[in-house]
């Protein structure tokens, strides 16, 4: 008898504290990368990366081939092990903030000759929400259709995915991430091998995402469109060369540092660590 008021009191007090906690997370940066180093077969591919992304911006990761752009995304998403450092999403590790982080892998990373329709692929973005042992219900099919509509692909919902063009496949991948309704999106070369119409469609979607306060971090290859498409740039070549607003960071000088002139010392060090016993 005595205990019930106490319980009530706790229940009364709980909501405000929870609100405060959510506020703290809300105000934290979408992604905070601290001193991350990644190595493949002992050869380091990323050295001491420190980066904090601003909220609600379109951010490009730019760098030459093999500079670790994809690896940075994968290391952040716990897809490849980090040798050192930590990554926080909205102030918490990835495991706790997964639902708020969307991922669009490289289109060529999967076999498109898989027996599923465009709608099936988009629904995959919601499998976690649907849960184990449950089929994809009508509600989720509708949500998947809406996501396809956003990328202008709703007419292709039942099309088998190997009958789609490269640009259409890319849009389906994008729709899969959109269906998840995340706050931060990683996109690995969303413009690679797509036609002009798809590129425009994707840019429109990126801008819509920004307008609704979401953050997008995309690996980008076309240096000419960086200014037009992105607010912020991260210049990467095994280490962080520069990061910040496009106007300040995307300069000829920084680009030369990123693309030109081999980073001789790092290369040598990497070589040495890869073959510790050979000399």
């Amino acid at each position: 008898m005595n205990e019930s008021p106490v319980v009530d009191q706790e229940a009364m007090q709980e909501p405000p504290t929870r609100m405060v906690a959510i506020d703290a997370v809300e105000s934290a940066s979408p992604i905070l990368i601290e001193d991350v180093t990644v190595a493949y077969h002992r050869r380091p591919v990323l050295w001491n990366i420190d980066y904090q992304a601003p909220s609600g911006k379109l951010i490009a990761i730019v760098g030459p081939n093999g500079s670790g752009k994809t690896t940075l995304i994968k290391a952040a998403l716990d897809l490849v092990p980090r040798a050192a450092g930590q990554v926080l999403f909205f102030g918490e590790p990835y495991g706790q903030q997964r639902h708020r982080v969307g991922y669009v892998p490289q289109r060529t990373s999967v076999d498109w000759d898989f027996p599923v329709s465009a709608l099936d692929v988009v629904a995959m973005g919601m499998y976690r929400k649907i849960g184990w042992l449950r089929p994809v219900s009508r509600k989720y099919r509708e949500a998947a259709k809406q996501a396809l509509d956003r990328v202008g692909m709703v007419d292709f919902a039942n099309r088998q995915i190997n009958q789609l063009s490269g640009g259409q496949q890319q849009r389906v991948f994008l729709a899969r991430a959109l269906a998840q309704n995340a706050n931060l999106y990683f996109m690995d070369e969303p413009f690679a091998g797509v036609d002009a119409a798809t590129e425009r469609a994707i840019v429109d979607i990126l801008r819509q995402l920004r307008e609704s306060g979401k953050t997008v971090i995309a690996v980008h290859h076309d240096l000419q469109t960086v200014h037009e498409y992105f607010d912020e740039v991260v210049l990467l070549n095994m280490r962080l060369i520069a990061a910040g607003p496009t106007a300040d960071v995307f300069t000829p000088d920084n680009l030369r540092k990123t693309y030109g002139g081999k980073l001789a010392l790092l290369d040598q060090l990497g070589e040495k660590m890869a073959q510790p016993r050979s000399r």
């Binding site: 994968k74 897809l79 991922y103 892998p105 027996p115 976690r128 088998q160």
Partner: protein, 463 residues
């Protein structure tokens, strides 16, 4: 002589009738067990094939061999006579099959050896070890009689009711698991990395799939044998893929194909007892595979080929009729061509041949098929004349061609000399709706009826 051979045929027929009418209890038992085995094999195999782990199943079955031998030897040492028990042998097979699988995964993960090489290494290692141990088994007193060789070549007839129960329960569990984690398995097979990013433990899912494949392999050892059991996993889904582009349909179809080929194999081998059941099962599966390969609705060779063939036929036919029309057009002079007027003139086949560059042999085929379809008819002097139907079709073909040519000329900067060839490719795929659109767009350029050709017609110069 005559009598005895009649008798043989008679008894063979009798045997066959007994087999397919399932009069024997034993046949029924074996049939039930292997059918369920086929169904679960098809289900698991679907994901295995899509995960591109087809060869892994082969490794598992071969890796089971040393386990069977060791289990037998150990059991005989501990309690003589217990080595023949199926469950003991299967346990050994399970342990070493799983060990073989783990070894390939480990090699792939921690060395730079490619997967196919890793699989081949483990397969060779385990099967070699197994064969060596088998010679040891053969030398033991009971080894010869233990029927261990059944595991290599399979002997469905040796199944007893308790085996069927085991297979049945395992199959039902596997089918339920496949349905339960259908979403997750399909995501794993399609895009493992995305699955990992969404927080799925892909390693565990992978192991679950492997475990299921190992289990099906092992319950299949007894009936089909370790050399052929992999076919139960791979043939049904590959055959099913020819019929559908939908994963759900594909997996159920694979289950059905697996079940049918197992049932068919058992019945056949009961009718012809000299044929090994395992081989017949696999062969009937292969038969269904060939049927699917040829006739499969989505990817089969025949539907693909016949579509292509129909299209070529249509093009050839309209090209031929257009040539006929263009041959007769100058004869009309300034008069308008009509369906009736076109049928009045004889067409000389040499002149017709000169109208286009027909691929060799194709011209004769086109002409004879046009005669067959009553578009052309031969007249009393041995020449050809258009029928009313042929004339109507010829006018349509020419109109389509010239509309498109004019469109190309007026709307694009194509060289007039190239227009004929440019139009040649496209005109055949124009549908009535597009034709109407073309007419509307070209309104100002169009005379009534069939427009004259915007360029000199090749071959017509001969006239």
């Amino acid at each position: 002589m005559c009598d005895s051979s009649l008798l043989a045929v008679d008894s063979l027929w009798e045997l066959f009738a007994r087999a397919i009418s399932l009069r024997d209890y034993n046949t029924r038992v074996v049939l039930g067990g292997t059918t369920m085995l086929g169904i679960s094999g098809g289900l698991v195999g679907t994901f295995l094939v899509l995960r591109k782990r087809a060869l892994a199943a082969d490794v598992v079955s071969h890796a089971a061999l040393p386990g069977i031998a060791v289990a037998f030897l150990l059991a005989e040492r501990l309690a003589p006579g217990s080595g023949r028990s199926t469950s003991v042998l299967l346990f050994g097979a399970f342990a070493s099959g799983l060990l073989g699988m783990a070894m390939t995964l480990a090699i792939r993960r921690w060395t730079r050896i490619k997967e196919d090489a890793a699989l081949a290494i483990v397969l060779g290692l385990f099967f070699g070890l197994g064969m060596a141990l088998f010679t040891v088994v053969q030398r033991t007193k009971t080894g010869n009689a233990a029927g261990l060789s059944n595991f290599i070549f399979g002997k469905a007839a040796s199944m007893v009711a308790s085996d069927v129960w085991l297979i049945g329960v395992v199959s039902v569990v596997i089918a339920m698991l496949c349905c339960g984690v259908f979403k997750e398995f399909s995501l794993l097979c399609f895009d493992e990395e995305f699955a990992a990013a969404r927080g799925y433990r892909t390693m565990l899912l992978d192991w679950l799939l492997t475990l299921m494949a190992v289990t099906v392999t092992l319950i299949g050892l007894q009936s089909v044998g370790l050399l052929l059991v992999v076919a139960l996993l791979l043939i049904p889904p590959t055959a099913a893929r020819f019929w559908t582009n939908d994963l759900k349909v594909m997996s159920w179809l694979a289950a059905a194909i697996g079940g049918v080929s197992c049932a068919g194999g058992v019945v056949l081998s009961a009718a012809f007892p000299k044929l090994a059941a395992g081989a017949v099962i696999v062969l009937s599966g292969a038969g269904l595979f060939v049927v699917s390969l040829v006739f499969g609705k989505e990817r089969g060779l025949w539907p693909k080929w016949s579509l292509q063939h129909q299209f070529e036929q249509r093009i050839g036919r309209s090209d031929l009729l257009r040539a006929c029309y263009e041959l007769l057009e100058p004869i009309h002079g300034s008069r308008e061509t009509t369906q009736e007027s076109l049928t009045k003139y004889e067409i000389d086949d040499l002149e017709l041949l000169a109208m286009r560059q027909w691929p060799s042999g194709r011209f004769q085929k086109l002409v004879s098929s046009a005669v067959r379809e009553r578009l052309l008819e031969t007249n009393s002097t041995g020449g050809y004349q258009l029928t009313l139907r042929g004339a109507a079709e010829a006018r349509d073909a020419v109109r389509r061609h010239r509309l498109w040519e004019i469109y190309l000329l007026t709307q694009t900067d194509l060289d007039p000399r190239l227009v004929d060839r440019g139009a040649d490719g496209i005109e055949h795929v124009l549908d009535p709706q597009q034709l109407a659109d073309l007419e509307r767009q070209l309104d100002s350029h169009l005379p009534q009826g069939i427009p004259p050709s915007p360029h000199p017609i090749a071959g017509a110069a001969i006239n």
